[in-house]
Amino acid sequence: MSPMPRVLLSEWTKIRTVRATLWTLVSALLVTVVLGVLISVLLNNTFDDLSREDRATFDPTFISFSGTQLGQLAMIAFGILVVANEYSTGMIRSSLSAVPVRGQLLAAKLAVATALALAVGMVTSFASFLLGQLALGDHRTDLSEPGVLRAVFGTGLYMGLIALFAMGLTWVLRSPLLSFGVQIPFFFMISNILANVPATEKIGQYLPDQAGSRAMAVVDTGDWPYGPWTGLLIMLAWVAAAVLAGWLVLRHRDA
């Protein structure tokens, strides 16, 4: 087995030298922030039209993270590309020849890509929050309010974890087409439908993205059966399962 720092360095070189992958991270940041600011502006201008109930549970922190709905798709795309490109290009054969201990290759790649996704996720979440609050005018909150800093960190974590979930699952699916075809519709639509239709609500709320997004909220609307940290833990359990599945497949299948 090669020493881990070398393999980490090699994976870092791999990630930073493919432009398409880096662009997904840039889009995640831009889409999330811009959309969050737009929605914040919109709500600031229409605040008085909201029902009394909506005004009572208004959550300026959560509103400034509205862009994550779309921005997370770019994070998922990042997770998919980092892994699936190894297979679609055949690079995996070079990678495994250089690092034949499969768990080590997987660990190094996930560590480097997740660290990068988390860093971009944190920048995204802080930028969304700060610019979003500016846009909310009189309805804004700030980092010193209870629960707000936790929600901002929670959102950054969410963005990193959703990318890691995608990486784990892509190691099972391998093909970029299949990975995008399964994951993008799921996180863009299916999960939301499951979590909002009364018949499936109880289960839908425990899906990874639904559970994780609990951590973005400061105000408890009573809609969730668990708190923010539990939400993140549920998401973490999903991520662990996806990574474990990826590792089992990588260990046993031919490259």
Binding site: P3, K14, T17, G90, M91, S97, A98, P100, D254, A255
Partner: protein, 310 residues
Amino acid sequence: MIELSGVTKRYGLKTAVRELTCVIRPGLVTGFLGPNGAGKSTTMRMILGLDRPTAGRALVEGRPYALLRDPLTVVGALLEARSVHPGRTAYHHLLCLAQSNGIPRRRVGEVLDLVGLGAVGARRPKGFSLGMGQRLGIASALLGDPRILIFDEPVNGLDPEGIHWVRNLIRRLASEGRTVFVSSHLMSEMALTADHLIVIGQGQLLADTSMAGFIEENARSYTRVRSPDREKLLDALSHAGLDAAPSGAPGAEGAWELEGDRTAVVGELAAERRLVLHELGHHRASLEEAFMRLTSQSVEYQAHVGAEEG
């Protein structure tokens, strides 16, 4: 040194490699010869631990590949299938491989120059020709200055100048004492580069011999004779104590073959007996023919076994 013992690989019902046992030694070019689909690439992938053998095992310097420390410094491989991200520059492709095995960065520039890609290191392989892609693959094989080299069909896609370069490179690597294992589906290619020959067909070992031994055994010399008067010819030959067998070569129907060069004896015999000959000549079977003969036997054997099993 590479050791294969009883290596078998099945993909579903298809047996790609069947109980292959052989040793590939240092200081020689070992040619790995077999028609398309014989199982050469599969065997090479198993040596590198990319595919897991269904049975048996492949050892490199006495260990499974996965247990080698910094494997690129022990084994360098050029695989048949593309193994490069087309969007990462040649330089960075080699750099990330080098870093994972503790190979110094300057070695990347060295191997790029060595394979003649020095000027295009900053370019992305998506714009590379087949030959340039092949050179990049060879560069990654040489990156760790390994003692063992595995080349899967290395001359594929190369122009004549490139082919010449690869042949010389392979010869040089072996002369430096390295283990060189090169596959090809062309006997002519092997005849030019290999010292030792391992032939497989349908995943099975057909021959494991020195190149010289293979030539001696297979490039058989024989005399071919043909006469319109078949009875008289055979009568004459048997009287002279000469064994003849009907020729199996295409286009030689009705001719008879005798081992070795017996043209003088047969010619004199014919004159003596006033026998009309339409053909008399001395031939040497080409290595290509020998290879075809060897592998067609394995095809027939397979078909036969298959019929019995069915």
